[in-house]
């Protein structure tokens, strides 16, 4: 589904991603861990199409298409979703309104007519229940005045509404209380299917207790320096990153 080959990207002449290789197949869940500043959010921004980042080398294929050629909206319409590490607040734009526009534009891209109002509302209701979000939050302005945890929950609500084929979750677990963590993890697990893949960026093993990954990668200094099974996350939790950094330095 997603193939990243030797991806180099940076900003204002500074290279941040220094040759990423990653292959995510439909149905898989990949976890990406790594120290602060190693380039995890940069990778997700480049995938989502944030224009400030320049790609200097490498390629990214999504469902066989050249992802880097697509505008951010077309990436979303092709089925890519990024749950942001820091979702922005958009005063005055209602969550529901914007999601309706999003869904209908995605449908138009796929040659479908707009979703009828009743169906849409039913879906809102269902997905809200799914992430245990109160009606009030869904109707409010996008993320405006939401607590940190509410913002993350709203990201998962949008994920559930848009039903992407590939979802990148950038530290969706940070700032969540124990119940919210469980809700978010359950949400993701319920959305897991053989046609859908997840890339879960996290610092903590505890999320991976709930969302059990197929592969765990360690991103360090713009490169994936180690990949392994779910045990790798446990090992990192115990030993920290020093040994990885040393290994990377030797290699």
């Amino acid at each position: 589904m997603l193939q990243i080959k030797n991806l180099h990207a940076g900003i204002e002449g500074k290279e941040i991603l220094k040759g990423i290789n990653l292959d995510v197949k439909a149905g898989e869940v990949h976890a990406i861990m790594g120290p602060n500043g190693s380039g995890k959010s940069t990778l997700s921004s480049v995938l989502a199409g944030k224009e400030e980042y320049e790609v200097s080398e490498g390629e990214v294929k999504f469902k066989g298409k050249d992802l880097l050629e697509l505008s951010p909206e077309d990436r979303a319409r092709e089925g890519l979703f990024l749950a942001f590490q820091y979702p922005v607040e958009i005063p005055g734009v209602s969550n529901i309104n914007f999601l309706k526009t999003a869904i209908n534009e995605i449908r138009a891209y796929r040659g479908q007519g707009p979703m009828d109002a009743k169906e849409f509302l039913a879906k809102v209701k269902e997905k809200q229940a799914f992430v245990e979000m109160t009606g009030n939050l869904a109707n409010r302005s996008v993320n405006e005045g939401f607590s940190g945890g509410e913002k993350k929950r709203n990201e998962i609500f949008q994920l559930a509404m848009l039903e992407p084929v590939l979802a990148v979750l950038d530290e969706t677990d940070s700032g969540l209380d124990i119940d919210a963590l469980r809700i978010v993890a359950n949400g993701v697990n319920k959305l897991r299917s053989k046609d859908r893949a997840f890339v879960v960026i996290t610092h903590y093993q505890r999320l991976l207790d709930h969302i059990v990954p197929d592969v765990v990668h360690v991103l360090f200094d713009g490169k994936i320096v180690k990949s392994g099974g779910k045990e790798l996350a446990l090992e990192l939790e115990k030993k920290g990153y020093d040994w990885i950094k040393k290994e990377a330095a030797i290699a």
Partner: protein, 439 residues
């Protein structure tokens, strides 16, 4: 921009007055106000480049071309229907001005409560002489501004609204000021609104051009007197066509415990200057000044406000928002005076602007002059592009650049539009703004 041209325009106007004054309506008192005003104009002259008040809004080029004075001639009112300018839900009470002259044929004033007068100012000059003389030219003083001086000299008609004490006008009054014609024109609609004690009224004024094929300059002045405990709302909707310029001044006086809300929405017009001055003459007054302007092409929109806190315990609140595209330019200048007497004043002012192009620009200037010590005053001004992070967020969910932009701009504009308290007008404005943004 030679001095010769400047003198030329001033003199043309002064001579125009001498030629026309015999036909101008009104009592001896009004006639003497006119004479005084033209002397004031002579002293002030059309503002030049050095004028502080018109620094960013150069009026000289507007008056360069020969503009004939048509205000004394009744326009031909044939062949256009007023319906296109009427608003759903506001059709019952429509007062129409055509080139500044009240047009009974186009007006319909059917749902006025007992005692409420809505008529032509010219008629009020003779039929309501006392009321007129008590208020006319008192709040908009001709010595303070060249355009007020010109208006007081030349204005022969407009809309007169009188709401007696203890009267609530349930139905809003809609004034439609139509500019039309094929000769260059300079017109002077002049309104006087008198709102009695404990009374309430909503007035909407639309400025619109119809089949206008020549340059026109409209100098529109409105005086509003809001008596004790009264509540008045005054909405201005400016959607002139390309070749129209508008200098519009509103001068209000509020007495004790009164509320006055204004909302100035500018959607089109080549060159627009709005002067809005409110004097809080009694304690416990509340006043809201809201404005929204959307500019494109080479449009110029200038909003100047002045809130004069003269008495204690009053509250004023200003919110002006602009969305400027192409090569358009804007100005916001907001003055707040708090006089020594005006303790416990609350005065807020905010000016927010979005520039959609690199060639668009706006000058904003808050001016707070505070002479009392126990007051709360604040002002804020921001000018910037659309929030890029918000744009990216929306696009990353599948919205096109246009939809994302429209959503953000509508939200931005809505802060002002949601203060509109006439539902039909709010709906109409939402629709106009939506259409404008989608263009």
């Amino acid at each position: 921009m030679t001095t010769a041209e400047k003198i030329g325009a001033d003199e043309r106007l002064i001579q125009g007055f001498s030629k026309n004054k015999a036909q101008l309506p009104g009592s001896k008192r009004i006639a003497s106000l006119r004479e005084q005003a033209i002397l004031d104009f002579q002293k002030l002259g059309l503002p030049g480049r050095k004028s502080e008040e018109y620094k960013y809004s150069n009026v000289q080029p507007l008056f360069k071309e020969e503009a004939s004075l048509v205000n004394t001639n009744l326009p031909a009112a044939n062949g256009f229907s007023i319906e296109q300018f009427q608003l759903p839900g506001l059709k019952e009470n429509t007062a129409v001005l055509v080139n500044g002259v009240f047009s009974p044929a186009h007006s319909s004033l059917n749902k006025l409560p007992k005692g409420v007068i809505v008529c032509s100012l010219k008629e009020a000059f003779s039929k309501n002489e006392k009321l007129v003389e008590q208020h006319y030219s008192k709040y908009a003083q001709s010595g303070t501004d060249a355009f007020l001086a010109l208006s007081t000299s030349f204005a022969g008609d407009g809309v007169f609204v009188y709401v007696p004490d203890n009267t609530i006008a349930e139905q809003a009054i809609h004034i439609i000021s139509v500019v039309t014609g094929s000769t260059p024109s300079l017109i002077f609609p002049r309104n006087l609104f008198i709102i009695g004690k404990n009374s309430g009224v909503q007035i909407v004024e639309s400025f619109a051009a119809h089949a206008l094929s020549a340059k026109s300059i409209c100098i529109a002045v409105t005086e509003v007197f809001v008596d004790e405990n009264a509540k008045a709302q005054y909405y201005k909707l400016q959607e002139d066509s390309g070749s129209a310029s508008l200098i519009s001044a509103t001068h209000a006086r509020q007495e004790r415990n009164s509320h006055f809300d204004t909302n100035t929405v500018t959607l089109s017009g080549e060159w627009i200057r709005n002067n809005l001055e409110i004097a809080l003459e009694g304690e416990n007054c509340e006043t809201h000044l809201n404005g929204l302007f959307l500019t494109e092409g080479k449009q110029h929109v200038d909003n100047h406000t002045l809130v004069d806190h003269r008495k204690p315990h009053c509250q004023s609140n200003q919110l002006y928002k602009g969305i400027l595209g192409d090569k358009s330019t804007g100005v916001f200048n907001g003055k707040i005076f708090v006089r020594p007497d005006a303790q416990k004043t609350n005065a807020y002012q905010s000016s927010r602007n979005i520039l959609l192009s690199d060639d668009a620009s706006i000058n904003t200037k808050p001016q707070l002059e505070i002479y009392a010590d126990d007051v709360k005053c604040s002002h804020g001004s921001t000018t910037g592009q659309l929030n890029e992070d918000a744009m990216f967020y929306l696009r990353s969910r599948g919205l096109s650049t246009d939809s994302a932009r429209n959503l953000l701009l509508s939200a931005f504009a809505n802060d002002v539009l949601e203060t509109v308290r006439i539902k039909e007008l709010k709906d109409h404005l939402d629709e106009l703004v939506r259409k404008r943004l989608e263009k």
